[in-house]
Symmetry: C2
Subunit: 204 residues, 2 copies
């Protein structure tokens, strides 16, 4: 997070930085009061801008929520990428991916509950940010399978798409915020058990 | 459903049949108005018994809901048992089990939405009826794995519990009413794809 909005800009701030300021303030505000209960008027009051001014930069409350959500999901995927980068092989990459998704989602749930709720709304309402996140995850799984096939760790008989879609479906209840909340308690054990089952299904 | 409550009993009805009458009427009432919004007073008025009389047979609204839920889950499992009984081998039994769970849950959702909601409450609040249903499903999976091991269809290296728990976890998002509603659209395809993945993991 930048601290720019607490310092008056030397020259007029660019459109880009005003957008950033609005998103940053909205992240804080939604993070306290929740996304669904807050109106753009509430937000405008809290930030000290007029509602009309905010609407110059964002078409709707959802448009602001989208950016917050995309930022948060990008952060989560950075953690996931970092956790999986050093894995010695494709099997271990898959295990670490599953666990990192569960841990990232649980952290968000327990430490940033209101932002977790935005992620849940985005998923329930099929926002582009949520869709892109799913697509990112699906491609990541495909890449890992491809690597494991090239190294001889995984079987190569089943069509790649079919394998990746199946694994994605197994991970989704733990990656998707709407569903993760029903699975939180046993999520780390489930990630372990299900990774092992997935790896058995991938054996050459 | 019996029609007994529309006919005056020849002799005084047994406690058992009064309980049945209350459950039957409550099933109809909750089925129309929902479980969560209905009080025992509403129910008493609708049935034509006093609230105090109902409390002679059931400690609470939940106690009535429990019986309704257990009945409905038993019906679902009867369908599941019938669908899987004629399968020629353990692999096909597993496939049919998964599909029957999805179809049974979807039917309940689309044709008996208010009773689906009771099942969701029972699952969310860990009622004994929901717990028993999970346990039943878990044992059924174990039985199928055991049969497939005996017939040589499935590998025998992995501990039985581990295999069964993993499969149960994969099926749960489609068997559990709280989660199925987020997965309804693609549930039949998912059941197919995931059955295939599970069977690959079970290959000897």
């Amino acid at each position: 997070m930048t601290e720019s909005r607490h310092e008056p800009p030397l020259r007029g701030p660019s459109e880009h930085s005003i957008r950033d300021q609005i998103v940053e303030a909205a992240t804080e505000h939604f993070g306290h009061y929740g996304y669904e209960k807050t109106t753009v008027s509430d937000l405008a009051k809290a930030i000290g801008y007029s509602k009309a001014y905010i609407y110059k930069f964002f078409d709707s409350k959802q448009a602001i929520g989208e950016v917050i959500c995309a930022n948060r999901l990008a952060e989560l995927m950075q953690v996931v990428d970092a956790e999986t980068a050093a894995a010695p092989n494709a099997s271990e990459t898959l295990r670490r991916l599953f666990l990192a998704l569960v841990n990232g989602g649980s952290n968000l749930f327990f430490h940033d509950r209101k932002l977790y709720d935005i992620a849940a709304v985005s998923s329930r309402e099929h926002w582009p940010s949520a869709q892109q996140h799913c697509e990112h995850l699906r491609l990541l799984i495909q890449r890992i399978i491809r690597e494991g096939r090239e190294s001889g760790e995984f079987e190569t008989q089943t069509p790649l798409d079919e394998v990746a879609d199946g694994i994605y479906l197994i991970m989704r209840p733990y990656a998707n915020p709407v569903q993760l909340q029903h699975n939180l308690e046993q999520a780390p054990e489930a990630a372990d058990l299900l990774s092992t089952l997935i790896l058995r299904s991938l054996a050459p």
